[in-house]
């Protein structure tokens, strides 16, 4: 059973068997507006918490999406290459950004749960 975490940078992580699927929240995609390009990462890239993992581009601006925890990218959502708007229409499902193998599951305890995130965005 996957467990769901959130960050105050408006990302979500669905964690199962030491692997996190990461995306941006519905609130975040609304703030960004229509996405036209997602700069996807290469599998195998090692990330430290706070590194820029993905750049999402709206009509007007480019925005960084940061690694919420340490780990190694094992897969990027290739469907976004041809359909970046999936992040708008399905931010928390088909619009996921990347999957990463966690380096230290202990870092998850520093993240928000769903109730904590909802309190954050009001």
């Amino acid at each position: 059973m996957a467990k769901l975490y959130f960050t105050d940078d408006h990302e979500w992580l669905s964690v199962e068997n030491g692997v996190a699927t990461v995306g941006i929240t519905d609130y975040a995609q609304e703030q960004l507006g229509d996405l036209v390009f997602v700069d996807l990462p290469e599998a195998g890239r090692a990330l430290k918490k706070g590194d820029v993992a993905v750049v999402v581009e709206s009509v007007k601006a480019a925005s960084d999406v940061y690694a919420p925890v340490d780990g190694e990218i094992i897969e990027a959502n290739q469907a976004l290459g041809s359909e970046p708007a999936l992040v708008n229409s399905a931010a928390t499902t088909d619009g996921w950004l990347w999957k990463m193998k966690l380096a230290d599951e202990g870092q998850l305890s520093g993240l928000l749960d769903e109730a904590g995130y909802k309190a954050l965005i009001g």
Binding site: G33, V36, V55, V59, K60
Partner: protein, 366 residues
């Protein structure tokens, strides 16, 4: 918060009611997008009618026997030769021929002209015009108006249904249809359309009628930018600046041969020298290959990796269906289909010089 210092639009409550997302622009808190989103707003303007609140821009009335003389000094423009109701795109230049602002000037009477100035430059423009007006028979009067742009193929029909007849007004002409109204057939989208300056009370009445028409939707600044970029139109402060002259910017079509020959305007000597020598760089359209936008400030390189220029506006063109940009490149490279390269976060993106506009203008010229 810096937001407290921002100027508020007179019709802000209407934008809040419409669900606008606001952001700062040129010292104003402006609606950037509405719930439909920038893509839908952009497309709606090309297909039906986009309604823009551009009250951040400034109307300045020049009145007096020497109003045309003032304009002929401030701008590379023969204001005296303008016919009644005729509008012209022109600039305020400094003595190096740098563009202080780009303007639309309309003749309203034998000695009366209306200037539409950009929000961020309005105060400086006023100070500049007032300084030049010293000793001349000409008053420089900034007007308090709501300014609306109604843009798109159905703009005339929507205005007609709202009781504003536009029939005889053609592109780049302006009239005063009611007291304290000023209406031109012009815009910043490449589409047929109108800009109307009017008192707030009249604006609210007109908007009640316009917004009851399903063809008319509010459009924010984000789509205004993507529309004008596809149309190849410059944004002052970005594509044209006090460091850029009209020849380098490819805007000499706005300066007639007679005006160039007479050389009455500030910056005439400098501009003549630049034209004689040929500008070292030129403004061009840029078409990035693939889907990734190439943004303002990105440097451009040639095949061999030499510096070739830079991007001044770049984003995604919803009607083009891909990234679009404009910028400056060394003059020998400023030819359609020349291939350059942009470095975006370590990715080398091919960028081809592309004719402007990206989308055909659909102005109503007569």
């Amino acid at each position: 918060m810096t937001g407290d210092a921002l100027k508020r639009l007179p019709l802000e409550n209407l934008h809040i009611e419409a669900g606008a997302r606001f952001g700062p622009f040129a010292g104003w808190s402006m609606p950037l997008t509405y719930p439909a989103g920038v893509m839908a707003e952009h497309t709606h303007t090309r297909e039906h009618v986009g309604l823009f609140d551009i009250s951040h821009m400034k109307l300045i009335e020049l009145d007096g026997k020497q109003a045309a003389d003032l304009l002929a000094e401030a701008c590379p423009l023969d204001a005296e030769a303008l016919a009644q109701s005729q509008s012209k795109y022109t600039f305020l230049l400094n003595d190096k021929a740098g563009i202080l602002d780009d303007l639309i000037v309309t003749r309203l009477g034998p000695q009366r002209f209306m200037v539409v100035a950009n929000a961020g430059n309005a105060e400086a423009d006023l100070a500049h015009l007032n300084a030049l007006a010293k000793g001349l028979d000409c008053t420089v009067k900034p007007l308090e108006r709501v300014l609306l742009a109604i843009q798109g193929p159905d703009a005339w029909a929507a205005l007609s249904r709202a009781g504003v007849e536009t029939g005889t007004l053609v592109f780049m002409h302006g009239i005063e249809p009611h007291e304290n109204w000023f209406m031109t057939r012009s815009g910043y989208t490449g589409e047929d359309g109108f800009e109307i300056g009017l008192p707030e009370k009249d604006a609210r009445e007109l908007l009640d009628k316009l917004l009851a028409d399903e063809r008319v939707k509010w459009v924010g600044l984000a789509a205004r930018d993507s529309l004008r970029l596809e149309a190849g139109l410059c944004l002052h402060g970005q594509d044209i600046t006090p460091e850029i002259d009209p020849a380098t910017a490819g805007l000499m079509w706005a300066v007639s041969k007679d005006v160039r020959a007479a050389g009455r305007f500030i910056g005439a000597e400098a501009l003549a020298a630049i034209v004689a020598q040929g500008p070292s760089q030129k403004r061009v359209g840029l078409k990035p290959q693939g889907r990734q936008p190439v943004r303002a400030g990105t440097r451009l390189f040639d095949e061999a990796g030499n510096e070739a220029g830079h991007v001044t506006s770049g984003g995604f063109g919803p009607s083009v269906g891909g990234p679009v940009a404009m910028g400056y490149v060394a003059t020998p490279l400023a030819k359609p289909e020349t291939r350059l390269f942009a470095d975006v976060r370590g990715t080398r993106i091919p960028v081809d010089i592309h004719p402007l506009p990206f989308t055909q203008h659909r102005y109503r010229k007569g």
